[in-house]
Symmetry: C2
Subunit: 736 residues, 2 copies
């Protein structure tokens, strides 16, 4: 349940690792906007569930984990009894609709399983899932005629015009198929489904919320009841069943990216029968296998809860996006077949390039290579000739900035996890990075920076492009492509063009070359940054920490500057209304609740005070990650917050993906063993570990003391043992 309260934006429902189905309760389905007017409350419902709510609207089959914008929430199902209600009703007046009250006392979530009692109807709801099929089990307490609502209007971030089209067929008395097309965050999105009931439908019907006038034939039918072919923009359906006391009604709902035929096929392949218990057990076992990749033999329950929940969240996405036979929808809206790889979707790359994909290079190398193959297929299909920016369900949603696919690909190639066409990948990376019409990029290429008067958040863009370009250059270097290397290594230094030596901060420049006037380096609003202020973003040169430190006045001054960041005060007004930055995620002026700062605590490693990294990291691990529904200090962002936690708990972190190097921090665990897919294992031990002993006296790798606070990816992958010797006071001599 961690992250299901406040701004964590995680969901508690049933899913498999990287599964296509995320079957989870939605506690509200309020619209994103009505008549164009934004509803700020919707942000709470990015994952459909808010722990503070008292009602469940129903259980829908697709959810993002931890995102700061949203979509999905497809095919919401709700069992009810008594008078048939076809509208969801409201949280403040649950009886006005089909939703039900629930309580956390009668609720339980575990990997692959969720249950809650629907108090208004005396129904016990249980959910489990295979990769492409959600399975429901509803136990009705009384013998009576009961209903199942299939709400095809409901959705997450439901713009008033989000539902473009819905098509439903009641194929026979237990099988329903169809699709819905939405125009939400994903612009042109169709999801097909097949839904099967464990007992025959007694009667069914629909309400259309968009009745259109007569179109060329008079009413031949009563289309509202027992009429098996339904279509329109906004439709809700009900299915009635005669239930016995304590009888269980089971429902399977499979999805497909390409066809209802595909959904039926997926259902038959993954859950042919009706054994809920066995599906649940299989889901549990699948999770266990994944989570056991890191063994924590010596930790207490709280540490394990935090750590394995982070592992769980890290393995929720990107999600598999294809039928069992490999068919999936491409960006060209044609059906494609994944040939020799698993196709993935939902790439929240501005977040996940930082630590999640690097983590996959250690714990999920095969999947990460397949994710890159999926990105290359995206590039192939993209009419822009671009790798994904933030993509889901065969659509680019263009969210956030940069082109961080290149970081993910570079990191994998540099680390040797390169079971894909690397020459083609380099071409895709460089082509993407030359798309002039993308987000100020032509200015950046022409001038060496994005001018703020031409394109907002210009400093963030310039800095992130420069890092991405460095990542491309690393691949060009490895492949001996000198011209590409020269082109992009030059661009990788453009960060200098937005640095103002006088103030010591990154600052927006205008088209005429001058720096923006009236500048506030604390403010997150309109200063040339996105989801951050200059204090934080000025430290974003992960590719060249040394050069950045020199530029900013040298190690000593920089170390003190970092100290200020962690200790100064950032008044609320500077981050009010900036998504994903909240008081909970802040330490001083350091914003852990959002991504741009995630590498910052490790930057002391490049000064003479690496011990300051150590205590900051331990402070963050302790303060910003807690058990309990409100344990996350910001959006989990599809696993990036969790990946930071996993790396940092283990004592190392990938400051610059695309480099094989990890910066060392201060592990919070006593002992951890990483079981690698190559059969090797890598153990991290923290001797003399305690809440007080947050400082690292020395570190040895396979018995050899390290003379610098870094290890290499290869050190991990060949297996071995990393031992941290912990102490309550800093080793101010550092690693040399």
């Amino acid at each position: 349940m961690i992250g299901t309260a406040k701004m964590g934006h995680t969901y508690p429902g049933a899913t498999l690792p990287f599964g296509s189905i995320q079957l989870s309760p939605d506690t509200d389905t309020i619209p994103y906007a009505v008549n164009g007017k934004y509803n700020p409350d919707v942000y709470k419902y990015c994952a459909g569930y808010q722990h503070d709510d008292h009602t469940i609207v129903g259980f829908s089959h697709t959810h993002f984990s931890g995102t700061g914008h949203s979509d999905l929430g497809d095919f919401l199902i709700m069992p009810t009894t008594g008078v048939l209600k076809m509208n969801p009703g409201t949280e403040s007046d649950p009886d006005s609709g089909y939703r039900s009250r629930f309580s956390h006392e009668k609720e339980h979530a575990e990997p692959g399983y969720y249950t809650a009692d629907l108090l208004d109807y005396d129904i016990k709801a249980e959910l489990t899932a295979s990769s492409r099929v959600g399975m429901h089990q509803y136990t009705f307490s009384k013998a009576e005629r009961s209903h199942v609502i299939l709400d095809l209007v409901a959705g997450i971030y439901n713009h008033d015009e989000k539902n473009v089209w819905t098509f439903v067929r009641v194929e026979n008395d237990t099988l329903v198929t169809g699709y819905r097309q939405t125009n939400g965050w994903s612009r042109t999105r169709r999801v097909y489904f097949a839904m099967s009931f464990s007992k025959p439908i007694l009667e069914y019907g629909r309400e259309r919320y968009d009745e259109h006038p007569y179109k060329g034939f008079w009413k031949k039918f009563d289309e509202t009841k027992n009429f098996p072919e339904i279509a329109g923009e906004r439709i809700r359906m009900y299915f009635d069943f005669d239930m016995e006391k304590e009888e269980k009604l089971k429902i399977k709902l499979a999805i497909s990216p390409v066809s209802s035929e595909g959904a039926v096929k997926n259902m038959k392949a993954e859950i042919p029968g009706w054994d809920f218990k066995s599906v649940r057990e299989q889901a549990y076992d699948t999770w266990n296998t994944e989570l056991q990749k890191v063994e924590l033999p010596e930790e207490n329950e709280e540490t394990k809860t935090n750590f394995y929940t982070a592992m769980y969240h890290a393995f929720l996405g990107p999600t598999e996006y294809m039928d069992v036979d490999g068919q999936y929808m491409g960006l060209d809206m044609n059906t494609h077949k994944a040939d020799g790889f698993t196709n993935y979707t939902s790439f929240s790359l501005w977040d996940t390039y930082r630590a999640l994909h690097p983590l996959f290079n250690i714990l999920q190398p095969k999947r990460n290579a397949d994710m890159i193959k999926s990105m290359l297929a995206h590039y192939d299909q993209s009419v822009h000739g671009m790798l994904p920016v933030w993509s889901h369900y065969a659509n680019e949603n263009w969210c956030m900035i940069g082109y961080h696919s290149v970081s993910v690909i570079s990191d994998a190639i540099v680390k040797g996890n390169d079971d894909f066409d690397v020459a083609y990948a380099l071409n895709a990376m460089s082509t993407t990075a030359r798309t002039g019409y993308y987000d100020g990029l032509q200015y950046y290429m022409d001038k060496g920076y994005v001018p703020e008067d031409k394109n907002g958040a210009s400093v963030s863009k310039t800095l992130e492009y420069a890092y991405d370009d460095w990542a491309i250059a690393q691949v060009a270097k490895k492949l001996g492509k000198n011209a590409i290397y020269d082109e992009f290594i030059k661009r990788s230094e453009y960060y200098k063009n937005v640095y103002e030596p006088k103030s010591g901060f990154m600052r927006p420049r205008l088209d005429d070359g001058s720096f923006k006037k009236d500048f506030d380096e604390l403010d997150t609003h309109g200063q040339g940054f996105i989801e951050g202020n200059s204090w934080n973003y000025s430290l974003y040169v992960p590719q060249y920490p040394e050069e950045m430190i020199n530029m900013m006045g040298g190690k000593k001054r920089f170390s003190a500057h970092l100290d200020s960041l962690f200790t100064m005060e950032l008044p609320d007004k500077y981050f009010e209304n900036t998504e994903d930055i909240t008081r909970e995620g802040i330490i001083g002026n350091y914003v852990h609740g959002n991504e741009p700062s995630h590498h910052i605590p490790y930057l002391y490693n490049w000064t003479d005070t690496p011990w300051k990294s150590q205590d900051k990291i331990r402070m963050i691990l302790k303060e910003k990650y807690k058990t309990g529904a409100d344990g996350l200090s910001g959006n989990d962002d599809f696993g990036q917050m969790s990946a930071w936690f996993i790396f940092s708990s283990l004592g190392f972190y990938p400051v610059a993906p695309g480099s094989p190097e990890y910066a060392l921090g201060s592990p919070s665990i006593k002992n951890a063993t990483l079981q690698l897919d190559n059969g090797k294992s890598f153990t991290v031990t923290a001797k003399n570990q305690s809440d007080k002993n947050v400082y690292v006296n020395k570190v040895s790798l396979n018995g050899k003391t390290l003379d610098r606070p870094f290890i290499d990816h290869a050190d991990i992958m060949v297996g071995g043992e990393l031992v941290f010797y912990m102490a309550s006071t800093p080793n101010k001599k550092g690693y040399r």
Copy 2:
């Protein structure tokens, strides 16, 4: 051009026999309804073109021929020069939009080719087509920057909400792909396209007529110009080209039922190059081959014009509906592959079962069998388990009444054109006819008639069901399925249940068994009939003419009754606002402009006065079919009006499809030879033929004088000669 004025509803554009593409000028694109309010003027534009109009809006790629309700009009293209206009403008103020004036002097249409000068822009427009690809050739008179409009809002019967979604990609500087989804007469309809230009696009852009508010990312792009990925409900695009004086811009636009990839494939397969002339010649040759199936060596130009235009119209539909590799969209909205047959769509069956499909059994037997295979595939995919009623583009639109697929299938089986699974077909027929929830059918099955107070047009439905049931029984008989035969032969007599002996007319009955009060047997409004009155519909028992005649008082009385029909007066008020019934199509109270009466002139054959059939038929042939744009006296109804003309011109007609028998009339040609696909030929000769000599003195088949006014289908198919000996006075002894 015949039928392009007034109510013919034919289009003059370029198409192949049964081709998927119908590339034709649209002279207006007015909406069917705005805000739910019907616009009666739209009816004129069922085929997009009205001969009296003075402007062409553009050239769209899909059209129905002759229908009385409509849809389609996809992908309208218009070349323009000068100031870019993105709206179509109006007929009354053409300069207000991109449309252009044109004149019939500078217009020409022939099979597979259409040309018109676009006077406002000095552009000569030429169109031709292969089956799945439309080819445009625009000759610009001046050297200047010119535009091509791609209007994705335009459509035929454009309900204000018809456009559900549009998706466009500018793949490169000559290729554009995408699809549009509409909710018109076809409820859930997607058509994919690929459009290729003969020279590179200079610049392009779009206007969206449905800009939605921000959906989760700020504007990263100028999406209005040179941005290659466009989607939304209502979109118009422009493409600019630098044209030289007298330079030709060529455009190919291919369609596909399943994917833009399929459209590209179709284009490559059918028109790989840019040779407009050769495509035009090939289209012409293809038409010639089809039209030469009936040779008319002795006729004058006028007769040939009328006859071959009728042949042309008869061969416009149903249309091929699959990619070159056989893929098509099924009713379940999944992609299917036609295995061993050509899949067809657009079945206007209430019209075409009467004479068009019987004509196909003679002149297009292979296509007719494939059409039946397409109907059986429809049945297979239908969630209702029903054969098509009126279907197009993977949708049932349910238009008109009955289930006349069964007539088409029965006619083919009875006539031995049965290269399909006949046992499966009988099952499909009987299952269709037992769908209780369809259009009063349960009442019909329970009570032997449809009660008018339960379901309108009840008499028409009862009569047509009874005929259809007889058609099913014929197949059951042939296959020895006695139970099915008994079931449906019983139902075939239900026509008796709506006959009121007192008045001698068919009359609606109510649920309680009583006849409707306040009945007017002349009125077409609200009397229990559809597009007809009791006078006409009371004669609709094609399966049992003898029994009907006996029921109505015997031969003599019936003959006089028919005389009254042709000579009495039908005041306008009785058919005002009844679609497809106009003064032009009426003789007395006989309505030739619409289908329910088409068999009536032949009914004298079952009395002692067959000569009265002869003069009526010749009168109809002469008065109701003329050369000239306004030559058709009613909607051509996808070839049914034309098929009546062809049969009747040749001297015989299928009064009851499902019977192998043709009733003889009075041929209007001197000599015709039918070249049959089986290598045989069948010649009809009318000795002593003239406008005055409309009576048949005697008839011989292969030299043997007939003793009754009927021939059999087999008589035709084995080849031979039918000779009519014409005279100016009736042979009142008849055939015996």
